[in-house]
Symmetry: C2
Subunit: 206 residues, 2 copies
């Protein structure tokens, strides 16, 4: 027990960097090629890593892709938190900006990758239980972030359901953007929902 | 030009029945097995039809599954219209029942089948253009039905976007129901959404 976790050797740093490259490449592959086309070999090649090294980090294909979607989701949420001070201060403009930000998380390559994984899990037993666990985890994290950014008081009636509806709406908008660029229609939907959400979160009393 | 389209021979009737059986079986297969597992042979077997007969009706796999999702969607919308008189009369109860009905269309096997087809189309060129056309067609029909059942006046500000948002929400709720039974959470979201939608459709003036 002489190792000290805070001091990393160059080898540990390299291993960590390899792992990160594999995870990022896995999400890119899933988003572009879907589940059928995304094998460990394809990901290893894209990451510039040998197949053996890839399998050292992730023994199975299911390990690799589940870890990838989890890791990249955590990264995106962290990035969103880092840029939180660029959002408008409290009020309708902030709510609009937050809804827009949430929907952007669900209309990019990460959502596309997750969608391929979810759809594959619907018919592949080896994925199913892991993706159900991942879905629960990602869903809770996304909900927590939405509550925080919207400054939503979930003890008020309808607020919790409205935050959930915002995430469900974002998921639906992500699906509508899968095959075609839906951005023009989407911006009208976002504007309308953000207005409604703001009046639920902070109703103007007569 | 001696044939008369209104008089069908027994052979035409049989052919029509075979086609309908193939279309229904195709949607069931897609919903259960996904795109990879759904071949023309698997569908033909489930429909109790020879592979040759299946190919006579649908020369390619893409023909069969695109036609199936289109046909079953039209059937469901027709069924919904048939039962329209069972809905409550105008008011909040009707809006709630209509939102519930729309969401039910997006949380059953038909949505599951469509999701597999959409996801496959994201990476398969042979499907892509057809599914984009189908998505446009189905989207317009669903929107038209929603406007009709909600008695929505789209000339009022925000109404068109709110109807669109309702369909996007339904799609997101369908996705959330893919791997687990999400019905309890969903009913809270539907209740909240229907209340908000009703105030947008028919605001109470002071």
């Amino acid at each position: 027990m002489t190792s000290h976790p805070a001091v990393r050797t160059p080898q540990q740093d390299r291993s960590r960097a390899t792992r990160a490259r594999l995870l990022a490449a896995a999400v890119d592959c899933l988003a572009e090629l879907g589940w059928q086309g995304s094998t460990v070999s394809v990901v290893a090649e894209r990451a510039g890593v040998s197949r053996g090294a890839a399998q050292h980090h992730f023994p199975t294909r299911e390990d690799l892709f589940t870890a990838a979607v989890e890791h990249v989701t955590a990264e995106r949420l962290a990035a969103v938190r880092t840029h939180a001070d660029e959002l408008p201060a409290a009020g309708p403009d902030r709510t609009r900006a937050v809804v827009d930000m949430i929907v952007r998380l669900y209309t990019g390559p990460l959502f596309r990758a997750a969608l391929h994984l979810w759809t594959a899990a619907a018919t592949e037993e080896a994925l199913r239980e892991r993706i159900i666990a991942l879905e629960g985890h990602v869903g809770r994290e996304a909900h927590r972030a939405a509550v925080e950014f919207l400054d939503a008081d979930e003890s008020r009636p309808g607020v919790r359901e409205s935050v959930q509806a915002t995430l469900d709406l974002a998921r639906g908008l992500g699906l509508a953007n899968l095959l075609t660029d839906d951005s023009v229609r989407r911006s009208g939907v976002i504007r309308q929902w953000a207005g409604v959400l703001e009046s639920t979160l902070r109703p103007v009393r007569p």
